[in-house]
Amino acid sequence: MRRIGDAPLTRRLLIGLALALSALFLLLPLVAIFAQAFSQGVAVFWSNVSNVFTLHAIGLTLVIALMTIPICLVFGVALAWLVTRFSFPGRRLLQTLIDIPFAVSPVVAGLIYLLLYGRNGWIGSWLDQHDIQLMFAWPGILMVTVFVTCPFVARELIPLMQAQGSREEEAAVTLGASGWTAFWRVTLPNIRWALMYGVILTNARAVGEFGAVSVVSGAIRGQTNTLPLHVDQLYQDYNTVGAFASAALLALIALLTLAAKAGLEWRAARRETRYSSDQLPETVSKSVPKTSSQTPLESMPSGQNRQPLGGERRL
C-alpha cells in the first residue's frame, strides 16, 4: 500500500520544486559571489583582500566574534540552567524574553542602544561625563552583537536540558559531588554537543550581523568597520570586485561554519548508533538457555556476548 503523499507525481513535483528553489535562491547566489570576486583574476582579488582596510575589517569582525562567543556561552548556560532547573515566578516570562532579540529587527536593536548609550542618551550622557565612549567604537559593536546573538546558546540548551531533566545531577549530588563538580562532570558532558551547536550559530550570526552594527558603529574605515559593513561600503563606492572579494570571505566563513555544523551532526549521529540499543545484551541473554539451578542473576551471558568496544570513549 502506498503511503499518503507518496504518489509518483506528487513526489517528483515536490522534489523538483525543492531542488529548483534551492538552486535558484541558495546555490546560485553563492556561486555568483565567488564568480564576481574572481571576475578580474586572482591577483585583483588578492590585492582587494590584502587591502589594509579590508584586513582591519576582518580583524575587527573576528575579534568581535571571539569576544561575543564566551559572553553568550556563559549567559546561555546560566539562563538555560536557571530556566530548566529552578521554578520561580516569572520563569515563563523569562523564557519569552529570551526570544526578544529574535523578534526585534536588528536595526531597532541598534537604535535602542544608540538611544540609551549614545552621547545624548540616558546612560550615555553620564558615561560621556566620565569620558567613556561606547557608541561608534568597538564596545558598542560588541554590545549589539551580544544582544543579537544571545538567544542562540540558550535556545539550543533549554529543550535539551528540559528533556534530560535533573536526575543525573541529583544522582551526582547524592553521591557526594558538590554543585560545581556535578556541573563539570555530569551536566556539561551531557550538553556539550548542543553547546557547540549554539556556539556555531552564535559565531555565524556574530560574523554576519549588519543591521544593528551599522547603526552603532559609525563605519569608520580602519576603526569601526566590520566585514559586512565593509562590503556595503565598497559596493556603494562602485568597487564591485572589492565588495565581492570581501563578501566571498564572509561566504567562506559561513561555509566553514556549515561544515563544522555538519561535522558535529555527523558525529552525533555516529555516536547515536554507537550507543544504540540494537546490541543490547538483554536480547541475547533471552536466547541463552538457562539451567535450572541458577541464581536469578547468573543467567547473564558473560564472555561470548562481549562486544569489542575499540578505543574507549572517543570524544
Binding site: 536526575r167 541529583e170 544522582a171 547524592t174 555530569v186 538483554e282 542473576l297
Partner: protein
C-alpha cells in the same frame, strides 16, 4: 542506622503533598512505601534523602539517622544511597566510571587511591554480576542491568541508608521478579536500612519487612505485609492491597437485597456495601436459602494456580472477579455464558476507618 521522621509535612504551592507525619524505620529494616501515584510516597522518600526539604512550620520538623540529626544536613553529606526510578546513570560515562563516581568526587584527603577505587568498584560490579560489562555505556545495557549498575553506584559510597524510588517500575515482569529477589537477598546480606517506593502492592508485600501504605499525603497504615493483608485498618488499605468486589444493597431483617439477588447478613437495617476478595466468592450450580446471587460467566483466564473468572449480573454495577480452583473449574464445567450462583465465604465492611470482617449469617 535507623531513620526517624518527626512532624514532616510538605506543600507544593497550594497543594499539600504530605500531611504532618511521624515515621520510624528500624535499623536493618527493609520498608516499602506503598501508595497510588500522588499519594506522596516519592516526596517522602526525597525528603528523607534531602532532595526536598520539608515545610518549615511553627512546630519544628526533624529527621534523624540513628542519633544523628540530619534535618539541616545537605544531601551530599547525608551519607545516603539513592536509586532513581529511571536509573539516572551518567550516560556519557562507562559502567566503571559510573560506579566509581562517588569515590572519585570525595575530597582529596579522604579519597581512596585509584588502585583502591578500582578494587572496590570491581568488587561491587562482581556483586551485581556485571564485571564483564565495566567498559560498556549505560545505553548499551538492558533495563535490569542499568538498575543494577545504579544500585552498585549507590552502594559504592557505603551509605548509611539506601533509598530506592520505584526501583523496578520500568522493568518487565520477569526481570522485576528476579531483581526483587536479588535485592532482598542483598539486603539480608549487607544488612543496611532500606526504604523503597512502589505502587505495586505485590512488590511491597513480597519485599518489605514492613509496609507503609499512603494515600493523599497521609500514612494509612504501617504494618508487616501479613497483618496488612489480613487486617487492613480501613477501606482504602483493603482496596489498594488486592482485587476487590463490591456488593451494594439494602438490608432489611437480616437480608441484603440488591435487585433480584439477596443474601443473608447479620447487619442492622439500612444501606450497606460489602467488599469481597476474589477468593471469597464460591460458585455453585444452585442457590441456597441464605444466598440467591445469580451470575453469568463473561470471561475466563485459566492462567496460574487458580482460574480467574469474571462474573456479571444485572444487579451488579461492576463485574465481579472470582478465583476458582482448577478442580472446581472442571467440576463446574465453567464456560463463557454459563449461569451460576455465587456464595460468599466471607465479606468485609468498613465504616469510618473501622474494619469488620464477618462470615455470612449462616453458612
Amino acid at each position: 542506622m535507623s531513620i526517624r521522621l518527626h512532624n514532616i509535612a510538605k506543600h507544593f504551592g497550594a497543594t499539600q503533598a504530605l500531611e504532618p507525619l511521624e515515621l520510624t524505620i528500624n535499623e536493618g529494616e527493609l520498608v516499602g512505601l506503598l501508595g497510588p501515584s500522588g499519594s506522596g510516597k516519592t516526596t517522602l522518600l526525597r525528603i528523607i534523602a534531602g532532595l526536598e526539604s520539608p515545610d518549615r512550620t511553627c512546630t519544628p520538623s526533624a529527621i534523624y539517622f540513628g542519633e544523628r540529626d540530619v534535618t539541616q544536613v545537605h544531601v551530599r553529606d547525608r551519607r545516603i544511597g539513592f536509586v532513581f526510578q529511571h536509573y539516572a546513570l551518567f550516560r556519557h560515562m562507562s559502567v566503571y566510571d559510573n560506579v566509581a563516581f562517588g569515590l572519585s568526587v570525595m575530597p582529596r584527603s579522604s579519597r581512596p587511591s585509584s588502585a583502591e577505587i578500582r578494587r572496590r568498584v570491581f568488587r561491587l560490579l562482581e556483586m551485581v554480576k556485571l564485571e564483564h560489562l565495566a567498559k560498556r555505556y549505560p545505553a548499551q545495557l538492558s533495563g535490569g542491568q542499568q538498575q543494577r549498575v545504579s544500585l552498585a553506584r549507590a552502594l559504592a559510597v557505603e551509605p548509611d541508608v539506601l533509598l530506592l524510588d520505584e526501583p523496578f517500575g520500568a522493568l518487565d515482569a520477569k526481570v522485576r521478579q528476579e531483581l526483587r529477589r536479588w535485592l532482598r537477598h542483598l539486603h539480608d546480606e549487607l544488612n543496611f536500612t532500606s526504604v523503597f517506593v512502589t505502587h505495586d502492592q505485590e512488590e511491597a508485600l513480597e519485599l518489605s519487612d514492613r509496609v507503609v501504605v499512603m494515600s493523599n499525603g497521609r500514612i494509612e497504615q504501617i504494618d508487616t505485609p501479613d497483618t496488612l493483608y489480613r487486617a487492613p485498618k480501613n477501606r482504602f488499605v483493603f482496596e489498594f492491597l488486592g482485587d476487590v468486589n463490591h456488593l451494594e444493597g439494602h438490608v432489611a431483617n437480616g437480608v441484603l437485597t440488591c435487585g433480584d439477588a439477596h443474601v443473608a447478613v447479620e447487619l442492622p437495617d439500612g444501606h450497606e456495601e460489602l467488599l469481597l476478595r476474589p477468593h471469597e466468592i464460591r460458585l455453585a450450580e444452585a442457590p441456597s436459602p441464605e444466598s440467591h446471587l445469580p451470575v453469568t460467566v463473561t470471561a475466563i483466564s485459566p492462567v496460574g494456580a487458580e482460574v480467574r473468572v469474571e462474573l456479571a449480573a444485572d444487579w451488579l454495577e461492576a463485574p465481579w472477579l472470582a478465583t476458582v480452583r482448577h478442580a472446581d473449574f472442571e467440576r463446574l464445567a465453567l464456560s463463557r455464558g454459563k449461569r451460576l450462583y455465587a456464595h460468599l465465604r466471607r465479606w468485609h465492611r468498613f465504616e469510618s476507618n473501622a474494619a469488620s470482617l464477618r462470615s455470612p449469617a449462616t453458612s
